[in-house]
């Protein structure tokens, strides 16, 4: 018996820890990985699992497996697929959606999912008392905004009703051709009324939660691991191949990479920047890189001198070499952004108006604009500063741009960084000149990018205001004809690229590591990976 020997050794006292170490090594190597258990590096610890409370991407990864909305998405094409709704019809004017809820849709406690569950859940989303951060996803629904802002007190005025237990009718504020896509967002998932009311804020705890998705919550230890297991009463359970998924909140990408190398993770959240070239070069089967629906850009504060002058803003835009930045600084296959909306968003590829490369011609034009604005060769230009949130990667990009402006325009730009929350506050109060920013689309439609820059829009934060732009955004929300919409989007892009309250830099890529054993996981611009299609080979 090994135990006895161990005790004798331990009496030696010095060797105790060593023996314990060896002993544990034996027990460790005896463990073998179970099949169909996916280990996923999930970035930061999630706030909560309440679909109406949370607001992040790590939360999406978990909530979209625990719960299911009316539709899900095709893992490759992102087309809406039937989920809790087995079918739907859309009225001619694009404003009334009628969903048939499938009869075999069940909650984990065995009860049926009904149209009333959706009515309750969406009312809860826009109810000011819920204080949902994503309440504005409910603004597409008639009276959603008015209820959330307290203008209408009666929740029943929300444009959603249960015609019968399995028929849900939704009336929209304005036709939104992308509405089915929005439905995949967790804010529009159903929650179980009795559970929510019984347990209050604690209803999402493993011992209380009732959900309706392909997986159900097994355990949740903060900052350690959250485990979900296959839900046997899920209507499409036959299709679900994974038996268990462990979401590991690993904030440090170095740690995550080591866990991946040790076989403790199948998928990572990211790759440490300095390691990207190595994985890119030598491990092509695990290195994942694909375009992501997001734009990295600089905000220009148009309310302050000298950036209140369009010519200066244009000069700055013309004199940075975007290709150089993605090739030599970011190095992960990013695409130079020549417009604000990423190419291909919801079928829209804007005509890029900005030069990808700096040429003598663009420099000459930039210099001319600068001179016209009263700053020949940058003389007399008030000092300019670039603000970024403290992070090495933002710093390197800012330094590259600083160099480019110095070399091409002869202007001196200073850099300064602030801790995340301070930086957010600084941007909100327009207390900056140039600030680094990034925007990831909420849904696959250009509107998620272009409606940011309406006058006083919450995410505008540049002081930019243009009447034609505001009107066009309002109009495009009521337009159902796709060809007309695309034209309007192009016009919006044209205004934006003419006024340039921003410096688009690149379109994001998602870069992470994935074990070749993981099947049914496809790259797509939303980075959606519904796990009911995923298995381990």
């Amino acid at each position: 018996m090994r135990t006895k020997g161990t005790f004798q050794f331990r009496s030696l006292f010095v060797a105790g820890p060593l023996v314990a170490l060896l002993f544990s090594l034996v027990s460790f190597s005896a463990q073998s990985p179970a099949p169909q258990v996916l280990n996923w590096g999930n970035g930061t610890e999630v706030q909560d699992l309440d679909p109406h409370i949370v607001s992040g991407v790590p939360e999406h990864h978990i909530i979209s497996e625990l719960f299911e909305g009316l539709v899900t998405v095709h893992p490759q094409t992102l087309e809406p697929l039937p989920a809790q709704a087995e079918s739907w019809t859309i009225s001619k004017d694009g404003k009334i959606y009628t969903f048939k809820i499938r009869k075999d849709a069940k909650w984990t406690n065995g009860e049926n999912v009904t149209a009333n569950d959706f009515v309750y859940s969406w009312q809860r989303l826009v109810d000011p008392k819920t204080a949902a951060k994503y309440a504005y996803q409910g603004y597409y629904i008639k009276n959603g905004e008015a209820i959330n802002k307290g203008k209408i007190k009666d929740l029943k005025q929300l444009g959603v009703k249960a015609v019968d237990a399995h028929t849900l009718q939704v009336e929209l504020e304005a036709p939104a051709p992308f509405f089915l896509g929005v439905l995949y967002h967790y804010s529009l998932y159903p929650v179980h009324q009795k559970t929510v009311e019984k347990f209050g804020q604690r209803w999402t705890r493993p011992e209380n939660i009732v959900s309706n998705g392909p997986f159900k919550l097994e355990s949740w230890q903060l900052n350690k691991v959250l485990t979900v297991v296959k839900n046997p009463v899920y209507w499409d359970a036959a299709k679900v191949q994974l038996s268990k998924v462990n979401y590991w909140p690993v904030e440090k990408s170095d740690t995550e990479e080591k866990m991946f190398r040790a076989g403790e993770l199948h998928v990572t959240n990211e790759i440490p920047l300095p390691k990207i070239p190595y994985w890119q070069r030598s491990k092509k089967d695990v290195y994942q890189q694909h375009p992501y629906l997001g734009t990295y850009y600089y905000r220009l504060n148009v309310t302050k001198k000298p950036l209140n002058d369009k010519r200066v803003r244009r000069a700055l835009n013309l004199s940075i070499d975007r290709e150089d930045i993605v090739k030599h600084v970011t190095r992960a296959g990013q695409i130079p952004a020549l417009s604000f909306t990423p190419p291909g968003t919801g079928g829209f590829t804007p005509e890029g108006k900005l030069p990808p490369k700096v040429t003598p011609k663009t420099i000459a034009e930039a210099k001319k604009l600068l001179a016209e604005a009263g700053y020949p060769d940058g003389k007399g230009l008030p000092p300019i500063e670039i603000l970024y949130n403290t992070l090495e990667s933002h710093k390197t990009i800012a330094e590259a741009i600083q160099q480019m402006w110095k070399k091409n325009l002869g202007i001196e730009v200073k850099l300064f960084n602030q801790e995340w929350k301070v930086y957010l506050a600084t941007m909100q109060t327009l207390n900056y000149q140039i600030a680094r920013a990034g925007w990831i689309g909420d849904y696959n439609d250009p509107l998620t990018f272009l409606d940011m820059f309406i006058t006083n829009g919450g995410n505008n934060e540049t002081g930019f205001s243009n009447k034609e732009y505001d009107k066009l955004v309002r109009d495009v929300k009521h337009e159902t004809n796709q060809a007309k919409r695309l034209k309007m989007f192009q016009r919006l892009e044209d205004i934006l690229m003419d006024e340039l309250p921003i410096v688009p830099i690149y379109t994001y890529t998602r870069v992470y590591l994935k074990d070749p054993k993981v099947a049914g996981w496809y790259p797509n611009v939303m980075d959606y990976h519904p796990l009911k299609f995923v298995s381990l080979k």
Binding site: P17, L21, S24, F28, D48, D254, K421
Partner: protein
Amino acid sequence: MGLGYLIKRVLTMVPVFFAVVTLVFFTIRFAPGGPFDEERRVPPEILENLNKKYHLDEPLYQQYFRYLGALAHFDLGPSFKHSNRTVNEIIAEAFPISFELGTYALIWALIIGLLAGGLAAYKPNSLFDYVPMSISIAGICLPTFVIGPLSILLFGLWMEWLPVAGWDDWPSKVLPSLTLGFAYAAYVSRLTRGGLMEIRNQDFIRTARAKGLKESTILIKHSLRGGLLPVVSYLGPAFAGLLSGALVTETIFNIPGLGRFFIQSALNRDYTVVMGTALLYFTLIFVCNFIVDVLYVVLDPRVRYE
């Protein structure tokens, strides 16, 4: 030892505790940015709803007294970020892990430190002295964020002996506690050596040696009690440091301890969690130092508190 002295120590802690509560409360509130600020700006109406829900719309003094009132019932409030947990729950879950990690680290520090220091003092100015003392200098100089990743690389990835991260079974606890304890082991070894060397030159040791006792008996029986005093006085701050200073180790090894919550909550402006962890750390440091003061009297008859 005067009981009066002990009571006095505890009583002086009370005003300091209030000063800490007040200081932390207002400092974190005056830091720019709030718990609900995000890159995706929350519309003002929604922000208003959120602030109302967490009483952040009240005047600051009112929030302060609300906090004090709850604190009197040991209620540290709800977390702003982890909306389905209270700060009490977060601490109850995370602190035992930090405590376990700190305890193992202290055990490593003592085992390695005492052995190395004892060895060095036993044969001073020999290889037994130079090798451990050089290593201890390295241990003091190399920060955790160098030792941690290096040991992961060596034992986790190359030798494949130990897991590279996590906090589950025995093997996963070896590297983090060793990493955390290493710098402390270095200090302990130097203090041990110094203390023992000092004792060696005292009269009662010379007497013992004159009586013909073996060198090892002198070391173990006569030198240790006095020679270890510096180590003992170091243990209090060391343990407090291990408990509250493990955040780097916790991050490198992805351990769900309190240090990570402390950092995250400060970055998230999760006011209540910042307060809760800060107050806990303050109490710990006080308690550890207090225990050491008591131990000191027990070990050294010359020390008396009035």
